[in-house]
Amino acid sequence: MDAMGNSHVAVLAAVTPDGVLLHTLIGLSFGLLLFLVASGFTLTFGLARFVNLSHGATFLIAAHVAAQVDRRIEVFALAVLAAAVTGVLVALAVFGLARLRWQAITADPTRQVLFTFGCLLVIADVVRNRWDGIPQSVLLPSGLDGSFTIGNTTFPIYRVFAMGAAIAIAIGLWWLQERTRFGAMVRAGADDREQLEALGIRTDLLFLAVFALAGGLAGLAGGLGVPLLGASIGQEFDVLILALVAVVVGGLGSLKGAFIASILVGLVDAYGKAWLSTFASFTIMALVVLVLAVRPAGLVDRLSGAR
């Protein structure tokens, strides 16, 4: 490998305006997709202090369902919808299981992690058995399957579409959290659950709704993500780790933080791959170390800031 060893580090030099634009777009599209997973994770955590690691597997199974539906009926919109529904159902199943021993599980973060990690492994194995571990993909509808050129660079149309969809969802989430009664209840529940219960609001229903919403977001991410990433075993961990990074960097429980951090992770990933390809998997973790060294509670400190 000596003959080639240096050449893939040498790309460092290739910094052009077109390249910067292209890498920024790539980073944004990946980061926004990541936000959909991270937002669900951070919502559940913010309200219920519940760490739901099964989100990685929710993404995985939703992506597989989307690919299957797309192959069967060849309507991409329905495939994404099916993925979202799958996400909701999976999250509700996890919630239902957790309800069986709710007090014991919620009392201890270690139990939450073990419980939801177990769910992740089970769901991933279901996917492996159902699809024989064969990676799946979708055929994009005409109109979304092409690419366009800016200057000397080419960018897939679908990524622009996915970015638009993710931004629309992010705006919807912001509206839901800041402008609706439901959002007010979620925010109140995150700050002081006992007080909220004392006001006569049933927090168990609120939890149910937030779990479903979080699952739906992970499912949507799976559906919208298939054309970008495909659907394959192993994603349950890849996606989970990146989402965890975004949540931790952004500040646990903060939607705004998750949004900023997801985009940051996407950009660091894109530029890391382009300019330091040998250290591609290291650059994101370097980001975590840097951010946490400077701001141990993450970019947006929701937990202590609210008190």
Binding site: M4, V11, F30, P109
Partner: protein, 441 residues
């Protein structure tokens, strides 16, 4: 207040630790599916019957607990291997390490099926010795593969079929060499086993086909510049290097080499770094391959530069999943289901009979051929199958028909040599398939 906060800090610390632990455990592989298949009998119960005579507690031998019965078989054989005390009727143990989970997890089940079909065609060997196959999962992880190989050796395997993942193949080789148990690798793997007289590869090395494709690209296709990409692990490095060697030796110039990490899903940033050239070579396999070939199309590169590949990128196993993005991609490889010979027809018919949804590919063809090699070698080793030296020379001396023609192992390297087929992906009435364009050598 301070104490609550302290508690929270502590519990979050333990949570982080649990997270890390959990991920490490998962990465180390949960695939612990030692599974015994009796290819000679109709049902697993037959294993119990045949082993009950020679080992105690044979009733357990069909389920995972092969540990319980096998050592005694092993001990018996060790004590008797050179005398010819009745080994007849005793099963011959074949160990298989494959990837059922991890990045190459998709290859495990199809390869198991093909090997089982191939061995089942014979029934028993050397008179009345049934063949017992133990399948193990390495989770695409060389460390796990070594563990499994050690276990198989302890369980008295006469020969070990391993592995799918190049890293595992190399990691396991010294373990088996030390134990004196021959190793047969069922599919193309990188060069590097040639100094190990104990190892055989039932295919040309990946370097062999990739280098010939490199030469072909420069000499016959007339390309003068190339960008070479490969996944950053043993396989991808080997094919990227070999293609570059062949291409430059024939007068071409490699303008850039990019090695994305194994397991990359978003290739966008790497694709954006590809400079203009006459042709691009992609050394990817598994899920990485699907993502690469689709994104190569999405980023408009397919319209700018033709894509050349080594076999696995456009394997028929994944072709339909890759979709139209794969059309026009050309590969150099030793096998395609489009090859026209009697053994290939026999293999394809058997596979279609067992699972009509599973397209034939070099993964299954290689496992099928490995079964043929095993039958031939075990037959000639007969009652001495547990003797590593006898088994080794039996394998070295076989010549068998495979779906890509007759093969025998090169005496110096243990690999197989043969023609390299150059083929492209075409759309045949909505079904993607290979079309053979040329044959090298």
């Amino acid at each position: 207040m301070t104490s609550t906060q302290r508690n929270r800090v502590l519990s979050w610390r333990s949570l982080a630790a649990m997270c890390a632990l959990g991920l490490v455990v998962a990465a180390c592989g949960d695939g612990d599916e030692g599974e015994v298949t009796d290819t000679a009998g109709d049902s697993p119960a037959d294993v119990t019957d045949t082993t009950a005579d020679t080992t105690s507690g044979g009733a357990d031998s069909t389920e995972g607990s092969s540990n319980g019965t096998a050592p005694s078989t092993d001990a018996t054989n060790d004590a008797t291997s050179n005398d010819s005390i009745p080994a007849t009727g005793e099963p011959v143990r074949v160990g298989v390490i494959s990837s059922y989970t991890g990045n190459f997890g998709l290859y495990g089940n199809p390869m198991e099926l093909a090997l089982t079909l191939s061995l089942a065609s014979a029934g028993t060997i050397a008179g009345d010795r049934p063949i017992e196959v133990v399948f193990e999962d390495d989770a695409t992880d060389p460390a796990v593969a070594v563990e499994r190989a050690t276990k198989l050796v302890e369980d008295g395997a006469s020969v070990v079929v391993c592995c799918v993942n190049a890293g595992s193949t190399f990691a396991v080789a010294p373990v088996l060499a030390e134990a004196g148990v021959p190793q047969i690798t069922p599919i193309a793997n990188p060069l590097g086993l040639h100094e190990n007289p104990n190892a055989f590869v039932a295919a040309p090395s990946v370097n062999y086909d990739a280098e010939r494709l490199g030469t072909y690209a420069a000499e016959t296709l007339g390309y003068t510049t190339a960008v070479v990409l490969g996944m950053d692990m043993a396989y991808g490095q080997a094919v990227a290097q070999a293609f570059s060697d062949g291409f430059t030796a024939a007068g071409g110039e490699v303008v850039s080499t990019i090695l994305p990490p194994f397991g990359t899903q978003d290739f966008g940033s790497y694709l954006a770094e590809i400079p203009d050239a006459d042709v691009v070579f992609g050394g990817f396999a598994g899920a990485d391959g699907i993502a690469f070939i689709q994104q190569y199309d999405q980023f408009g590169l397919k319209d700018r530069m033709p894509l050349l590949a080594h076999g696995p990128l456009i394997t028929e196993l994944l072709l339909q999943a890759e979709g139209p993005a794969a059309i026009g991609t050309t590969a150099g490889f030793y096998y395609s289901s489009q090859l026209d010979n009697a053994e290939n027809d026999r293999f394809k018919a058997a596979l279609a009979d067992a699972n009509p949804d599973l397209p034939p590919s070099h993964f299954t063809a290689g496992s099928w051929a490995t079964g043929t090699v095993l039958l031939d070698a075990l037959e000639s080793a007969g009652t001495d199958a547990e003797d590593g030296d006898v088994m080794r020379s039996a394998i070295a001396n076989t010549t068998v028909d495979t779906p890509w023609g007759p093969i025998s192992f090169d005496a110096d390297t243990g690999y197989v040599f043969g023609p390299t087929y150059v083929y492209s992906v075409i759309d045949d009435d909505g079904i993607l398939r290979h079309q053979i364009d040329a044959t090298i050598g």
